[in-house]
Structures are given as C-alpha cells and as structure tokens.
C-alpha cells in the first residue's frame, strides 16, 4: 500500500471513532466599520511601529514625493512595472531630472538575476489594498510586477490607494473573495525585512528590503 493510502486509512479508521467538528464563530474578528480617515490613521500608526515609512500624496503629488524619497536615498535606479499605470506614469515622466533611471522587469529572472540582486537600488509596486489593524500591504505579484520586485531591492516603494484600506485581514479577504481562487503568490507585507535572532535586537534588511516606503494616495 502506498504511504498515502496507509496514512489516510489510519486516519479514517480512527480507533476513537468519528470526531464532531465544532462550530467556528468568527465574530471576534469583526471591527466597527471605521471611516476611511480612521483606517488611514490606524494603518499609518501600525506600519510605522514596524519601521515602515508613510507619505500622504495625491494623484498629482506622488511623483514628486517619490522623486524626493529616492533622491534623499541616493537611489541610482528604480525598478518599475511595465504595464501598470504606475510604471506608465513614471515612464511618461522620464524627462524629469529628479527621477533615477527606470528599469523594467520584462525578462525572466534567470537572464538578469545578478543585476537584480546587486545593482538595483529600489523597486516600486502597486498594492491590492491595505489592512489598518495590522499595518499591512496586500500584494498579488503578477507577470507585470513579479514577486522579486518587492523583495530583492533594498528599498521597496508601495503605492496604496486610501480607499483600498480595509479594517482587518478578515474583511479584506471576504470583500475581495479570495476563496474563489488565489494567484500563484499572494503576500501581506508589514514593514521592511527584519530579524531579532541576535539577542532579540532588531535589525532591518536581513534578506529583503531595508526600507519600506508607502505612498498613500488620497
């Protein structure tokens, strides 16, 4: 008999008999329906408490703010999505001198892995929303914004629309109907990469970005 069948048979022929499944009441996860302003404030407070940086912008000002953020960090280049509006807008502003070189992730990673790992200073991605209660960003990487964009460069800039901030993870999942099907990879990101493995002292950027910058567009 295969191991699969052995295991399943042992579980099915349980000597203690059938088990009864208890009901699960999720109402303890419910929160009042906070207004957007309160959700923004809560999101900001929580993500800042884990070393995330928040900038409040509008459709008109986010490019300026991004340029500022990147230039203070001396970023030489920025990895941008190819098709997403964010990438299009950045590329249409290519004549701006305060923006670093724009790079596009349009080839399989194998062909340029060492460049991505060694020479890219920052990446910018969209988000599918935010979670106020935990200060989290929801990312569903796509062919246009692959997984490593938000992971490998030392600075990750995320664009978040204030209207997409949910109160809880539970709410976000229900509203966006995640149960209907998941992408190959989905992520919650709450702050930059960190570790406390050396005597519980926090250090940032151990494997992923050292900095997480959120541009909230209101």
């Amino acid at each position: 008999m295969s191991s699969r069948d052995t295991i399943l048979q042992r579980l099915r022929n349980r000597s203690g008999g059938n088990l009864t499944a208890p009901n699960c009441d999720f109402s303890v996860l419910e929160r009042p329906d906070w207004p957007v302003s309160e959700r923004i404030a809560m999101f900001e407070k929580n993500i800042e408490s884990v070393h995330g940086e928040v900038h409040h912008c509008t459709e008109e000002t986010w490019l300026d703010r991004l340029a500022e953020v990147l230039s203070t960090r001396g970023a030489r280049n920025l990895l941008v999505p190819k098709e997403h509006e964010i990438g299009l807008k950045l590329r249409s502003a290519v004549e701006r001198e305060d923006l670093p070189n724009l790079l596009i992730y349009d080839e399989p990673i194998e062909s340029w892995q060492s460049v991505l790992f060694n020479d890219v200073d920052a990446g910018i991605t969209s988000t599918r929303g935010g979670i106020a209660e935990t200060g989290s960003l929801i990312l569903w990487p796509t062919a246009d914004e692959p997984r490593l964009m938000s992971l490998v460069p030392p600075v990750h800039v995320a664009v978040l629309y204030a209207s997409d901030i949910y109160t809880t993870f539970h709410e976000a999942m229900q509203v966006q109907d995640w149960g209907a099907g998941m992408p190959t990879n989905a992520l919650l990101i709450s702050g930059p990469s960190k570790t406390a493995d050396i005597e519980q002292t926090l250090a940032y950027g151990v494997h992923g970005p050292k900095e997480l910058i959120v541009l909230i567009i209101e």
Partner: protein, 479 residues
C-alpha cells in the same frame, strides 16, 4: 531514532536530561540569556493582545483546529486535489526517513547540488540537513537564527528563535571564526554580513526547502509566516521549491487563516503580524518572470496518525507552533532548549516528542514540569498541556487499569519499588483509621523525622511536622 533508521542518529540522547539540566542551571550565561529573552517575550505577548477578547479568540483558534482535525482525512485529500490542480506535486511520507528520501529523489532528479532552507521544524524533525549532507547535497539554513545555529554545529534551542541561547558576544565570535567577519558587537553589521553571504547562496541554490504554517484545502494554498524574507527568497529564487509539513497543518478555509495568524504572531513574538505572510498556490506560470518552475509538498505523518487515534491525545495536534508555551515555561526558562535533547523543546515538546520517539526513550520528558499551568494558560489554541503531561505520566508507568496506555513505549518508567511505594501510600490513605494512626504517630515522634530528605533538603529545610494533627485537634474540640 530507531535502529532501522536509514541515516545515523544525530540528535542528543534524550535520556541525559538530568545532567544537561544541571549543567544549564549552573551556567550563568544560559540562565541570563533565557531569562532575559523569555521576560521580553512574555511582556510583548501581553501587550499584543491588549484590547482583544482573548478568551473568545482562543476559543475560535481551538475550534478551527478541532474542526480541521475532525475532517482531517477528507481535508488532506481536498488539499492534495487542489494543490495538484494548481500544479503543485504532493508527496506522502509515513515517517521522517521517507520524507528525507522524497526530498533526496526530487533533488537527484534535478541534479541538485545545493539546497537553501527556510525555517522548518518538520525538517529538523526529519534531520534533513544531516541526511542531505550524507547524500552529497549541501543544505544551508537561511533564517538568521538557524544559520547561526548551523554555523555552530548545533540544533535550535527554541522553535521560533533558534539561536536564543546565544548572546551577541558568542555570535560575533562564531561568525568571525567561521565566516571571517570582523569581531563586532554591532548587530546591524553582523546581520548585513549574513545578508551578503546568504544572497550568493540564494542565487546559486538548486532547490529551496521550506516549512508550512497553514495549508489551506479550499484553495490549495501554502502559507508561510516570517519576518526576514528568507522564506520568500527560498520559495521564489531557486528553480525548485519543496515544502515539508506535518499532516495536521491543514485547515479547510482561507478564512481560518485570519484567526490563526492573529493568534500565532501575537503569541509567538508579540507582533500584530509578521513582516511577511506568504501565500503560495502554485509554481511559476508560463507568462510569469520569476518563481520556481516546480513546487512540491511533502506531507509528513511521523507519528501524527497515532496521536490522532485517541480523543485526549488528539489535542496535541492542534498546535500551531507559536512557542508561547516555552516562553512562559518556568522550567524551559531555567534549563534552555538544548537540555531536552529533542527537536521540540519545552511544554509542547514534552507532550509531542514521546509520540515521535516513543515513551520509553522520552519517559523523563513528562516529569520535567511542576504542572504550573502557565503553558496551557497562554496556548492560543487551548491545548490542555498540563492534563496531557499527566496523561503521559500515567502512560509511562501504566498507572491506570481502567484506561490502558496507548503510546508506544508506555510503561517503561514503571519501577517495582516506586510502584510499591504508591501502593502502600494508597492503601494507607484509603484506610482512614490507619491514616489517623500513622499521622498521629508521626506527629508524636516528629523529633525522629529525618533531617535529610533527598533532593528536597538539598535546597530547603525539611518540612516540620506539627505536634498534633488537625484531625487530633478537631477531635479534641469534639468535631
């Protein structure tokens, strides 16, 4: 590890608990490192749950896990079906050895030379690193704590913070000696050095191996909880990702994950959430530009289906591996994780390991508790750990004729002398006349009481018998 194990046993002898405990207790560095860390973790946990209806949340966590266990075989099949539909290949292993062989075979098929690992306690349980090394495959840990422990040639001393037994000085010296970093106490510098060393490894690794925190049957999704990003690297950069997990980790719905995640991170480290919550539902699609070409899941039984048979022991399988029980355990805090000599230390280890290694080999584990109940009080899924400790104590001495023992190796601790002592004790206390006679004699001849009573008087004065028992005093009072 049984003698039939294909690879040589690597872990420490569990039976040597006592001498190791003694050594740890007299090692001020170990005592300080653990006390400081555990105090911090307890405080953080407490504040992380402020404003929550924690009892109700823990009830929900317990019910989610119980519901999953109630439907375990069906859920595993559903999970397998969904994962297969998603392009993830599912393997089943009855024990750690078979799981190791499955990983090896996947590696060999790809001609893999190096494996990079995200943190996985099940792989520790399998002793996978050791096995792969024997097979000529380099296995490198990428979680900073695991990396440090691996550099030192040790095993993790805590399931969440593997290197918690070491302080910065020790880690600095270790990294200097093994990797040539400067002798520095700057944690940022040490972390940055590890980043550099490990980035190379990520780029060149042929296979990534990770654990799984929750496997969701509904969507065929593997969830990973982490702060560093090494878990994401491990599961994204190498062309092949192998996830290994215990069969109990499956939950029916994505919704379940929201509650368990809220409990897990707060209980473990006092975080509202970890930096990354990574949900993997498939390998790279044809149009995608990164991610592994192949994803595998190895479902490991290794004793779990035996635990599953018994209604009471079943609660052991609710565990979501947060480590709160060890953080709050006064014994773990004093002796540290290595004293246990087991993959899982602390209270959860004491109730889980006897099933994995047999109650004969693990017979000292359930006794190493004052049954203070702190573990059960903080467990996010309400595992009645103290009750399970008592149950395993009963099993280890075959102490209940009405409820015969079931765990492999039961009865190994039953000694003729001790059993006789309890029989005598029981007889006397079941015969009130004898009891009153005995206790009143003891009171009368209390001066003859021995001044030394084994381990007790090593640290304390002997208890002092009163001149008259309460029975006698009340009798005199006419009661």
């Amino acid at each position: 590890m049984s003698e039939t194990a294909e690879h040589s046993p690597h872990h420490i002898d569990v039976k040597e608990f006592h001498p190791r405990a003694q050594a740890a207790i007299h090692n001020p560095k170990i005592r300080q490192n653990f006390r400081k860390a555990m105090d911090g973790l307890m405080t953080k946990r407490k504040s992380a749950f402020e404003g929550w209806d924690l009892e109700t949340l823990r009830d929900l966590g317990a019910n989610i896990r119980l519901r999953a266990l109630a439907n375990l075989p069906d859920l595993l099949e559903q999970l397998e079906q969904k994962l297969t539909e998603n392009g993830i290949k599912v393997h089943w292993a009855v024990d750690g050895d078979e799981a190791c062989r499955i990983v090896r075979d996947i590696c060999k098929a790809r001609d893999a030379k190096t494996v990079i690992k995200g943190k996985s306690m099940v792989s520790e349980e399998m002793e996978l690193n050791h096995y792969l090394e024997e097979q000529g495959i380099e296995a490198l840990e990428s979680d900073l704590g695991e990396y440090i422990v691996q550099l030192a040639g040790e095993t993790p001393s805590h399931i969440i913070m593997p290197a918690i037994h070491k302080n910065t000085d020790e880690i600095s010296e270790l990294m200097h000696e093994k990797t040539g970093t400067d002798l520095s106490h700057d944690v940022e510098y040490l972390t940055a050095s590890a980043r550099l060393q490990l980035r190379e490894k990520f780029m060149n690794a042929d296979v990534g191996v990770s654990g799984v925190n929750f496997a969701v049957a509904e969507t065929g999704t593997l969830c990973l909880v982490e702060n560093e990003g090494n878990g994401r690297m491990t599961t994204t950069v190498p062309p092949c990702h192998i996830a290994v997990t215990g069969i109990e980790k499956v939950v029916p719905n994505l919704e379940d994950v929201t509650a368990l995640l809220a409990l897990l991170t707060r209980s473990a480290t006092g975080q509202h959430i970890t930096t990354y919550f990574n949900m993997i539902s498939g390998p790279r699609k044809p149009d995608e530009l990164d991610g592994p070409e192949e994803v595998h899941l190895v479902l490991v039984d290794n004793g779990r289906s035996s635990i599953y048979q018994d209604d009471e022991l079943l609660d052991t399988l609710r565990c979501i591996r947060c480590g709160a029980c060890m953080n709050h355990c006064p014994v773990y805090t004093r002796v540290g994780g290595h004293t246990y000599g087991t993959t899982y230390p602390g209270p959860i280890g004491k109730i889980l390991m006897p099933h994995l290694i047999g109650l004969d080999e693990g017979r000292h584990l359930p006794t190493a508790s004052s049954l203070c109940g702190a573990c059960g009080e903080v467990c996010p899924v309400k595992i009645p750990i103290p009750d399970l400790l008592v149950r395993l104590r009963q099993e280890s001495v075959d102490g209940d004729k009405l409820h015969p023992a079931k765990v492999r190796g039961h009865g190994a601790k039953r000694g003729a002398v001790e059993a006789m002592v309890w029989k005598g004790w029981s007889w006397m206390h079941a015969h009130p006349g004898m009891y009153r006679f005995g206790t009143s004699m003891a009171a009368r001849f209390r001066k003859l009481q021995p001044g030394q009573i084994g381990g007790w008087t090593q640290y304390r004065t002997a208890p002092k018998l009163a001149p008259k028992t309460l029975h006698e005093r009340l009798k005199e009072r006419g009661q």
